[in-house]
């Protein structure tokens, strides 16, 4: 699986005040105040590769390039972790549940964990198919608390409660919210009681529309702390 650079995708650095120098372009992907990720060219046996500090974004099924870039930009900005957009893969067939005509989100995560060997410390899969879990009739996304992989589905985000199609802008906003929520779970964040916070559990799209595109102060603090931990103690592969 090859890695597309930001230049490949035409993606711009998300941080408006980022350093325009060549070194600064890499650093632009790092959150402000965080140590700069290592340059691949200077990798030694002791230093982990730069991509270990990144999140790998994988399209699984036909999502659309713009939607993927929207998610990447939001994750970089609000989580503060650089994003590599990776080549698309097919959603694993072993995750398909014939009796429910849906894909089991847990099995998709398991597939990405076990079968896809990627250096990135976090992986986010975006699927077009409808996802479910053994206990829930559907899920917008799934992630393990403190794990490596999260997955989100676009399937139920493009319609309103009454079945009417939703506006594109709202669809992208919902997708970004679900992606941020699930990625934050991989940084050990729990559901939040603040009804405006991105970590508040949203069982329906109407609830997703109600929350803001921001973490509450407490969750934002937790995210920053846990992302910093990633730089302090890089995962060992």
């Amino acid at each position: 699986m090859s890695k597309k650079t930001r230049e490949d995708t035409g993606q711009q650095p998300p941080s408006p005040g980022s350093d325009p120098s060549p070194a600064g372009r890499d650093a632009a992907a790092s959150p402000p105040g965080l140590p700069r990720p290592l340059d691949d060219s200077k990798v030694t046996d002791e230093r982990p590769p730069r991509s270990i500090f990144h999140l790998g974004l994988i399209e699984m099924g036909r999502i659309g390039e713009f939607a993927v870039r929207v998610v990447a930009a939001h994750v970089q900005t609000l989580i503060g972790i650089p994003v590599d957009i990776l080549d698309p893969v097919e959603i694993p067939e072993e995750a398909f549940q014939h009796h429910r005509q849906q894909y089991d989100a847990g099995l998709v995560i398991k597939h990405l964990n076990e079968r896809v060997n990627l250096p990135q410390s976090r992986i986010l899969g975006i699927v077009a198919a409808d996802l479910c879990s053994p206990i829930l009739t559907y899920v917008y996304g799934e992630a393990e608390i403190g794990g490596k992989v999260a997955v989100v589905s676009t399937h139920r985000l493009s319609q309103n409660e009454d079945g009417s199609p939703t506006a594109k802008e709202r669809y992208y906003e919902r997708l970004a919210k679900v992606a941020l929520h699930e990625v934050a779970h991989t940084f050990s964040l729990y559901h939040c009681d603040d009804p405006q916070c991105l970590m508040h559990f949203s069982p329906k799209v109407v609830h997703l529309d109600h929350i803001t595109l921001a973490f509450c102060d407490r969750c934002e603090f937790m995210i920053r702390e846990n992302v910093l931990q990633l730089y302090r103690r890089p995962p060992v592969h």
Binding site: R100, G106, C132, S133, P134, I135, L136, T137, Y138, V139, E144, I145, H185, Y190, H191, F201, P203, K204
Partner: protein, 449 residues
């Protein structure tokens, strides 16, 4: 419901169990899983859970069987039955047996969220209800802290002042003066009044038992510890801990308690987990702790940690004007409790009570009134109803002459009345002149105030 909410998921299907556990953990709950009824019951035997999700159809024990056991042994725990084989009949049967709700797999995400929120709110209300009942009882008992004397008015003022502070308090006073009532009054007027008031008499336990009682223990911490138990320190979280007879506490435990007070965390016996505790400490003693420090029985550092504010509860003999007020109050209370048609206490009886020196303080007075109310034949309590207070002690049980008895009795009454001839004559129901002549006859020395 204190600390983190604990939920147990019981399902024989691993994938379902782990999926539900995962979802609940994401919501910040402390979650455990069990693959069957027997494992679930052994987990419940070790720790209290707020909510149990219980699969209806399991191989070794059915959900209904497990539900019956849970309701019988852990009635405070809420149970939700989950099944893929649901029907109205099973739902009705489960609800009749005490299940709080019923879910069919797979659930709608919103149904699960709303159900968990609803049940945890119900649990919170039930727990608050228990707490409020406790509060009402505490309030009723606080009413016994009454007095018309100047020193009691000063005490009431001091209680109001110190209640709002968070500092530890040391209450000093003789046995039976009402030190616990003072502690309860402070708690009920403090910002922690909605938290629990947890009293423990440190003098009533052996060292080993006291340690277990204060710190609690984990399962298997010692022989017989078949179930984990919270200690009083943990139970007092967000409330007030009242350590009565603190002077009796062993030196080793003084160090342990000092550590808890400094670090605000504790470990149960046999446990590794650090448990945060937040309580206000009120201690009481009848001992002179400074003398105990000199003797090496009490740690100085512990004393200064406890004794930030000191309150002295005066003995009843030093506030004899409170005796009639307290006597009437207790008579009214026991009249209500025993449903006896007692209208009050006659004045001579009140004078007699005031003349007694009450070595057992308010508690002795309370017991005396209770005994008098229970045994009273008339509508008013009379001197005769309190004659038992002045009965000869066993040491004086040797046959004595009438003269000797009269001499001792007058001497005792004079002492009780602090040499006040008028008061003593009233109690003895003789004139002042007669009393003077008897004092002269027996060569008594009326003690002066």
């Amino acid at each position: 419901m204190t600390g983190r909410i604990k939920i147990l998921v019981v399902d024989d299907e691993l994938i379902v169990r782990e999926s539900l556990i995962g979802w609940l953990r994401k919501s910040g709950y402390e979650v455990a899983g069990a693959e069957g009824g027997r494992q679930a019951l052994s987990i419940l035997a070790e720790k209290d859970y707020d909510l149990v999700f219980l699969d209806f159809k399991m191989p070794e024990m059915s959900g209904i069987e497990v539900l019956e056991q849970i309701k019988a042994n852990y009635p405070q725990t809420m149970v939700v039955l989950i099944t893929a084989y649901g029907s109205i009949q099973t739902a009705v049967e489960a609800m009749k047996l005490g299940a709080h709700d019923y879910l069919m797999k797979p659930f709608e995400p919103e149904d699960l969220v709303l159900l968990v929120e609803k049940l945890l709110n119900q649990k919170k209300i039930l727990d608050e209800n228990l707490l409020l009942r406790e509060q009402v009882q505490t309030k009723i008992r606080c009413e016994d802290l009454i007095g018309a004397s100047k020193c009691m008015h000063q005490l009431f003022g001091l209680i109001e002042e110190v209640a709002r502070a968070e500092s530890p308090i040391l209450i000093r006073g003789e046995t039976g003066t009402g030190k616990e009532l003072v502690a309860k009054a402070i708690h009920s007027r403090s910002q922690r009044c909605y938290g629990p008031f947890i009293p423990i008499n440190c003098g009533a336990f052996t060292e080993t038992l006291l340690e277990g009682e204060l710190f609690g223990h984990e399962t298997g911490a010692f022989t017989g510890a078949v179930r984990a138990k919270k200690g009083r320190l943990e139970m007092a979280h967000e409330g007030t801990l009242f350590l009565d007879e603190i002077g009796e506490i062993p030196l080793k435990m003084q160090v342990d308690l000092l550590r808890v007070l400094e670090q605000r965390t504790l470990h149960r016996i046999g446990g590794n987990q650090e448990i945060p505790v937040d309580f206000r400490l009120i201690c009481a003693t009848h001992r002179d702790l400074l003398r105990e420090i000199e003797r090496g029985n009490f740690r100085q550092d512990f004393y200064y940690r406890l004794n930030v504010i000191e309150i002295e509860v005066p003995p009843l003999r030093e506030r004899d004007e409170d005796v009639p007020v307290l006597a009437q109050h207790f008579a009214e209370r026991f009249r209500r409790e025993t449903n006896k048609p007692i209208l009050g206490i006659q004045q001579p009886a009140l004078d007699l009570l005031s003349s007694y020196d009450w070595p057992g303080n308010v508690r002795e007075l309370e017991n005396a009134i209770e005994r008098a109310v229970v045994l009273a034949k008339g509508r008013y309590l009379t001197r005769d109803d309190f004659a038992f207070l002045f009965k000869a002690t066993p040491a004086q049980g040797i046959p004595q002459s009438l003269k000797e008895n009269e001499k001792q009795h007058i001497d005792r009454i004079l002492k009780h009345c602090k040499g006040n001839i008028t008061k003593a004559a009233n109690v003895l129901e003789i004139s002042r002149i007669t009393l003077h002549s008897k004092i002269k006859k027996y060569g008594l020395q009326p003690s002066m105030k």
